[in-house]
Amino acid sequence: MAVVTLTIDGKPVSARAGESVLAAAAEAGIRIPTLCHLDGVSEAAACRLCLVQVEGRGRLQAACVTAAAEGMVVRTQTDTLREYRKMILELLFAEGNHVCAVCVANGNCELQAAAADLGMDHVRYPYLNPVRPVDVSHAQYAVDHNRCILCTRCVRTCDEIEGAHTWDVAGRGTLSHLIADMGQPWGESATCTSCGKCVQSCPTGALFRQGSTVAEMTKDREKLGDLVLARREKKWTV
């Protein structure tokens, strides 16, 4: 297997050919913030938090879809990048109705954690306060669209891991929203297998198990990546 070496934040790092900068960085212990990335499913490159500077390239590159290359010089922590990441988070907080104090995922939310990590202490943009529904028609789970950041991890998980493709996105721009099947209530979906993988994949409290109250909805997001790995390697026990 071909191996390339590159420099990330001044640190020499090795990577397998074809591996992303994000994966190479993670392996070397360099954390690049992400929201739409999830181990085990394809990349969307949609949240733009993992943007990095690559020497010799004019535009910022999303680390999740940039292949590591020999001699590449990557910087993940510049003033501009830190500021841009903060602004992107502020845009997300202003877009939905993210109220941690009453959220099932409080304390177990990737959006909340990213905001704390990146030092997002206020939102400089006006809140859009959209009117969004909550769908509790499913017997076990529920979706609160107010907390959805449209990362599409659930869409990709349902399509690629479970193979059901119950979830997709309808509408466009800031009116984009998740739909089950052709837009019917989740509980009436003909394709949903009630496997709950989407719930585990969700970075926020948008998808949750019914009956959980504030801060009770913990998620095991690593399980999905492990599942994909186990299927591929045909190894189910450690």
Partner: protein, 545 residues
């Protein structure tokens, strides 16, 4: 179909032509002002006057001067009439044999026509776009025949040597794109024609598809032969029903004539074309979103690389070019790369079509050599503003472009020069503005368009454009402070630098270019800080318990 048959069709069509023709524009612009009725009356008058042996009334493509529509022309004497009504049709026919007409005459020698250099629109206004014979009679499909006499890589070399650059906006070298697809290993490859023209104020591609559908097909076929594809798709927006109708008719005619399908010109080359109709999303003009849409998926862009040339439609190597780019190819094939490369400037070769709109006297389509100055297009061809006011600015490139102030009108139109002054060539929309136009409102209009058309996939474009629109609204309503203006600029930079595709990356251009050249208009709208915001000291620091 072989070459002799092509020549026979051309001869037969020419022999059939009557000594005189009366031509009526039947493209969308004139059609909207009633040209279908005018043509009907012209035909009736010709028959009623017993002139059928010497005169025919035919529908033709757009002669360009849309603001004077419906336009009627007489051939070969070169007479031209504008804003023709159905009632005036009889008089126009009578005028050809010395009678009188009250129809408004247009000077065919005015700069609007005289100063154009038509390559892509060479036949527009002269041939019937609905009949393949009409196109063949003026040399149509000769370029395809000549291309098929060469090796594919020779054609790629020709296109590279011609210096042609993509007419969709970005100006990527066409030859380089073709070479990339051509060099991919043999196997299933595709050619896609991007007819999803969506910029407000742009209608060049619509006219090319309506006026010369066969020219687009011929260009695509040459491209397919060059890169080794056997299947093509034309992606047209549903808002262009006439273009769809004429393209469909052209595909049927060309297939029947053996110019599409198997064994074209008795060579092993095979090429089929299908139309795909867009569903109203501007973002589908972005090539990866367009490809997703052709595949029946949600039209959202994906990160590149891989580029479509390597992995496009159904993960196959795909050549995707704009309508105008393909329509330029037959002329290059017929006349040679050197002929084309001699037109235009050093780095921008050939001609470009612009749709001249807004506060301009002669609104319509103009095709000029690259390197022509904006002033020549707006003031000479366009005739300045309709009511004689001074031109304030020219917007090029639509929602991805910028506003160029009157002081920079002597800038030559080429990819580099426009880029240097903060705008882009774009697909060719050119909106003329006078001093009644307020730049912050223009910027707000384009931002509203981008917020509406954002697909919603990436955060900076989805939410950033909405926040930008909010800030511009606040500004226009005179509620914004200097702090808001700073936020506006910094958010513009974020959206430009971090968005996933070209839509978001270029959405701030109208704002940034108007702030650059018309800063005073923004300043004038600002409110003093103290009246607009509570003092900062009132924020109570929170402490974590």
């Amino acid at each position: 179909m072989d070459h002799d048959e092509l020549l026979r069709i051309a001869d037969a069509e020419r022999a059939k032509a009557k000594p005189n023709e009366i031509r009526c524009c039947t493209s969308s612009g004139c059609r909207a002002s009633g040209s279908a009725d005018v043509l009907k009356q012209l035909k009736a008058s010709v028959a009623a006057n017993g002139l059928n042996d010497t005169l025919t009334a035919v529908g033709v493509g757009c002669p360009g001067l849309c603001s004077a529509g419906p336009v009627v022309m007489s051939h070969p004497d070169g007479g031209m009439f504008g804003k023709v009504t159905a009632e005036q049709a009889k008089g126009i026919v009578a005028a050809l044999s010395g009678g009188a007409t009250d129809a408004q005459r247009i000077d065919p020698n005015q700069p609007f026509f005289r100063k154009q250099f038509r390559v892509v629109r060479a036949t527009a206004g002269q041939i019937d776009p609905e009949r393949i014979e009409s196109y063949i009679a003026v040399g149509g499909y000769e370029g395809l025949y000549q291309a098929l006499q060469k090796r594919p890589d020779e054609i790629v070399t020709d296109v590279t040597a011609s210096g042609l650059r993509g007419r969709g906006g970005a100006g990527y070298p066409t030859g380089l794109k073709w070479a990339t697809v051509e060099k991919m290993p043999p196997g299933q490859k595709y050619v896609i024609c991007n007819g999803d023209e969506g910029d407000p104020g742009a209608f060049m591609d619509r006219s090319v598809m309506e006026d010369a559908p066969h020219q687009v097909l011929e260009g695509m076929a040459i491209a397919a032969y060059a890169v080794g594809a056997n299947q093509g798709f034309i992606y047209v927006r549903a808002e262009y029903p006439l273009a769809i109708e004429r393209l469909q008719a052209a595909i049927t005619q060309a297939t029947k004539a053996g110019l599409l399908g198997a064994n074209i010109f008795q060579t092993p080359f095979e090429f089929k074309v299908e139309i795909r109709i867009g569903a109203g999303a501007f973002v589908c003009g972005e090539e990866t979103a367009l490809i997703a849409s052709v595949q029946g998926l949600r039209g959202t862009p994906r990160p590149r690389p891989p580029y479509p040339a390597e992995s496009g439609l159904w993960d196959r190597p795909t050549l995707i070019n704009n309508v105008e780019t393909f329509a330029t190819i037959p002329a290059i094939s017929r006349n040679g790369a050197a002929w084309f490369a001699a037109i235009g400037t050093d780095r921008s070769k050939g001609t470009k079509i612009f749709s001249l709109t807004g506060k301009v006297k002669n609104a319509g389509l103009v095709e000029v050599p690259m390197g022509t100055t904006l002033r020549a297009v707006v003031e000479e061809l366009g005739g300045g503003t309709a009511d004689g006011k001074a031109v304030k600015a020219v917007q090029t490139g639509g929602p991805s472009g910028g506003c160029i102030p009157a002081s920079l009108l002597d800038t030559p139109i080429d990819y580099e020069s426009l880029g240097k002054i903060g705008s882009i060539m774009g697909s060719g929309g050119m909106i003329v503005m006078d001093d009644t136009d307020r730049m912050p409102e223009v910027a707000r209009f384009f931002m509203e368009f981008c917020a509406d058309e954002s697909c919603g996939k990436c955060v900076p474009c989805r939410v950033g454009t909405v926040q930008l629109h909010g800030l511009l609204t606040k500004l226009v309503e005179r509620k914004a402070t200097r702090h808001d203006l700073d936020t506006l600029v910094e958010l513009c930079q974020l959206v430009r630098d971090t968005s996933l595709c070209g839509l978001g990356q270029s959405a701030p251009n109208p704002v940034l270019s108007t702030i650059r050249y018309f800063a005073a208009e923004y300043e004038a709208l600002l409110q003093p800080e103290e009246f607009a915001r509570p003092p900062r000291a009132s924020v109570i620091p929170l402490s974590v318990v």
